[in-house]
Symmetry: C2
Subunit: 323 residues, 2 copies
């Protein structure tokens, strides 16, 4: 059975060999550029991995895998405009390398290309694959909007946060697995269990991401520690802090720390409170809860153990590599 | 058989009764707003009209008709950002009424919703409907990019222009007819003839639009005369002028008139040259050529004459109402 690295090779090759139309160049160059920036290719690998749990011939899921990766990159192109982000994977974002209209339009085109790729799937279940895909795509947009709404709020609850990251991050991982499983011939039930696995695992990944941004070792994580703190991002840590702390500390956070312009002072001040209220431990518990939920769903999927183990190890490795 | 006004009622009612999700409101309110702004609903009516040429039960094409209208409005939401347009159908654009991130994201969501609606079509030809739709959607994006590229060019050829409006404007009209016809049970050949009818008719509509912007009666057209001239839009008139005029006049246009800040002087100067070089007559001839091509395609469609006449009259009325 193929492991992450094998499946990564397959999808990377597919993406690399894809030729887009030549004109208008302003529209197609940004797409080739964005798709060449690389990354873990986690979502398409999950499509292939879920397919091979039920059918060794992963080639039949290749178009769907590619579709999901193009869709994911479309969301990044548009998110980068909305977030005014200058860099993506260490390179200029489409928005800064070209301009805003081109980033909007090439993103739009990627979204359509994603559907077009999915439609190439040889399956008598195309309608149901599209339903899963469209539902997830809509939820990703909803998640992005809810996340933007959080920026101006200091009263976000744990539930609201979990709901948001579920939509913004997890449903696409979940749908990748569900689509791959269905292409492989899984029963609706098994495909749904894999969806649940992906949904809960995605939430755990995001919580881990939140933790590492404040408590990781900078070099290992590959980015500077405290970025979320500096940008006042409503992570699970900040949300838990605002919920758990006493009145004075809350006042200090919402009236001083969030507006502190001295970056080191801001990060240290926030980390001090995170430790005081043990928010890291809270987040670790929450993460473990969702990981356990994920593994429980995987357990009941009706396939050979080896296939489950590959998926489980992938999840664990990702979690470890990030820690 | 149902006429434009009957079919308009059916699709308007369908759009009016559609309830979007309630949250996040920032994402769904702009969609409801945009869909409520009205308009001729030409594309969805064409879907229904093409369906009834082969099957009296137009209800089976209603989701597809709705899908095309949502897609069309998605392109308007994003185009308005790219064009910095403050108004759309006399109302604020989504971009100005809310903001840019919301206009990007709600537009994205409309694009996905369009595919979702199309997928609701009960048809054993869903894959082929999606192929027609995705191809047209991609071409609309290409047309928009090529149109933006024209802004900085003074050497656009007639062929390039016809290609651009074909993509930006016509293919969606054409695809509307092809999709409706296929849902109604037309042969691939007949559906293709209707596509060709729509493609050529769309080009004729756009040329008529270009003519009216410079030579229409302001009150009838419903907008101020000369808008295209003021914004240096590369219409067929301007393209033909730059192609047909002598060296001195070309120099005057490209070095003076295009930069003239006195609006009346600019419009009058350009109209004077349009008359001198008979560009209106040139454009009328071109328009008639495409209208005739369109009607020739319609002629050979294998259906009863009454059905063809309804479509023909619709095209003629639209052309007259605009004149």
């Amino acid at each position: 059975m193929k492991k992450y690295s094998d499946l990564y090779q397959i999808i990377s090759q597919e993406i690399k060999l894809t030729q887009y139309a030549e004109t208008p160049t302003e529209l197609y160059e940004p797409i080739s550029y964005m798709m060449s920036l690389g990354g873990k290719r986690l979502r398409p690998v999950l499509v292939l991995m879920a397919c091979q749990m039920f059918d060794a011939d992963v080639s039949k899921a290749l178009n769907a895998a590619h579709a999901i990766e193009v869709f994911h990159n479309f969301t990044l192109v548009h998110d980068d405009i909305m977030d005014n982000a200058p860099l993506r994977r260490g390179q200029q974002t489409v928005y800064t390398k070209w301009n805003m209209p081109i980033a909007i339009l090439s993103g739009d085109l990627m979204m359509i290309k994603a559907t077009q790729l999915l439609c190439k799937t040889e399956s008598n279940q195309l309608k149901s694959l599209l339903e899963i895909f469209n539902k997830a795509a809509i939820e990703v947009c909803e998640g992005q909007q809810i996340d933007m709404n959080f920026e101006t709020r200091n009263d976000v609850s744990h539930d609201e946060y979990i709901n948001m990251i579920g939509l913004k991050t997890s449903v696409l991982l979940a749908a990748s697995l569900q689509i791959g499983a269905k292409i492989g011939g899984a029963s609706d039930e098994d495909a749904q269990y894999l969806y649940d696995f992906g949904k809960n695992m995605g939430i755990a990944f995001q919580i881990q991401d939140d933790i590492l941004d404040s408590f990781g070792e900078g070099d290992k994580v590959g980015k500077k520690i405290g970025g979320d703190i500096v940008s006042n991002k409503k992570t699970l840590l900040l949300i838990e802090l605002l919920e758990a702390c006493n009145k004075d500390d809350k006042k200090f956070v919402t009236e001083n720390l969030l507006f502190e312009s001295d970056i080191d002072k801001k990060i240290n001040g926030m980390l001090h409170l995170y430790k005081k209220y043990q928010v890291k431990e809270f987040a670790e518990n929450m993460k473990n809860k969702y990981m356990n939920l994920a593994f429980a769903s995987l357990e009941v999927v009706n396939t050979i153990n080896e296939a489950k183990l590959i998926l489980k190890h992938t999840a664990q490795e990702l979690m470890t590599r990030m820690s």
